[in-house]
Symmetry: C2
Subunit: 200 residues, 2 copies
């Protein structure tokens, strides 16, 4: 994303996000993640390599509002995960812990069909179904990833404390303990054979 | 509202809120405000008195989730303001500052047509139009009130820090500096002749 000036919110401001598509009127504040950004993060490396030979598809978009990252503020926006698979594994967000690990997040699903995959550093896991109208409270210490198991974009509206920060690295290195793959046309949750945690 | 046990969120949990009506699957965590709860808060006391002789109408509902009020948590839910008027003044929420006045809030309008009326203790005012898809960041120090200027329920999804608390008393005593009334069939913003601030 471009280095946009942080919004110093002394006054109220509005941002438009379509209630179905999640598309905003401030597209310069949307981050785009493509297949090439997910090297080593999908189960099937060969399938990813083959797909990249054809097209570097967009996997997801999300808002990076650029509001000042102080504890009084809240960051918010939409996450859009497009339908698709790498091998048998559904398109997903990278997933992250918060840098301030004790801070939580709220998700509210606007459209699509998906799963929110969550886990703690200690190995506790939880997966909930995302359908329009489902809100999820993700407490502090729970890493979270959205997975699109449907045929349309999976759109969520999210809010978190502006000073929470992101730790993508832990997930990039270790992976999530659970993956969501398609099995006989149905989503199935499996243990991640590539998971690289040292303890369990 | 009943004294429900606070939710101690060590694990993720979900709550359903319909994306159009805002209706939840946990109606025991919705607060109901009726006309009789607004004594002295509408401009036209006589009109309120006359309406109460007929029916104590529901003005709004909102979620009181009961999540533990610690700074790591976020409280969230829907606010539903029903269509109607007391005299010329549209149905509205009471409006509040946060008890921890520096903490902000995020609103996301799901359906209906309204205005979010905001002001600071110093007398700064801001009013934005609420339509489906409009999100509003309300910074700390800005009191806020939703006003329904349409013919259908005004539904918003909101998130704020769980330790923010509410100060309804300041608004109850002083009122907002600006009111939204119907004037020749159109919404109009006027100075509040009953406003009881000591300065300005």
């Amino acid at each position: 994303m471009k280095n946009l000036k942080p919004i110093v919110a002394k006054r109220p401001f509005t941002v438009y996000f379509d209630v179905t598509t999640g598309i905003t009127d401030q597209m310069d504040r949307m981050v785009t993640r493509r297949l090439s950004d997910y090297q080593g993060m999908f189960l099937d490396d060969n399938a990813l390599e083959e797909m990249l030979k054809k097209e570097d598809k967009v996997v997801c978009n999300f808002t990076e509002l650029g509001l000042e990252e102080v504890e009084e503020n809240l960051l918010f926006g939409t996450s859009i995960v497009y339908p698709g698979k790498v091998g048998k594994e559904y398109f997903m967000t990278k997933g992250h812990f918060h840098a301030k690990i004790n801070l939580g997040e709220v998700y509210y699903c606007l459209s699509g069909d998906g799963m929110l995959v969550m886990e703690t550093p200690d190995g506790d896991t939880e997966i909930v179904r995302l359908k329009p109208g489902v809100s999820v409270f993700v407490p502090g210490r729970w890493a979270h990833r959205s997975v699109n198991i449907g045929n349309a974009p999976l759109v969520t509206f999210y809010v978190f404390r502006a000073d929470a920060g992101h730790d993508y690295e832990t997930i990039k290195v270790k992976g999530f303990r659970k993956l969501v793959i398609e099995n006989n046309g149905e989503p199935a949750v499996i243990d991640n054979p590539k998971w690289k945690g040292l303890s369990k």
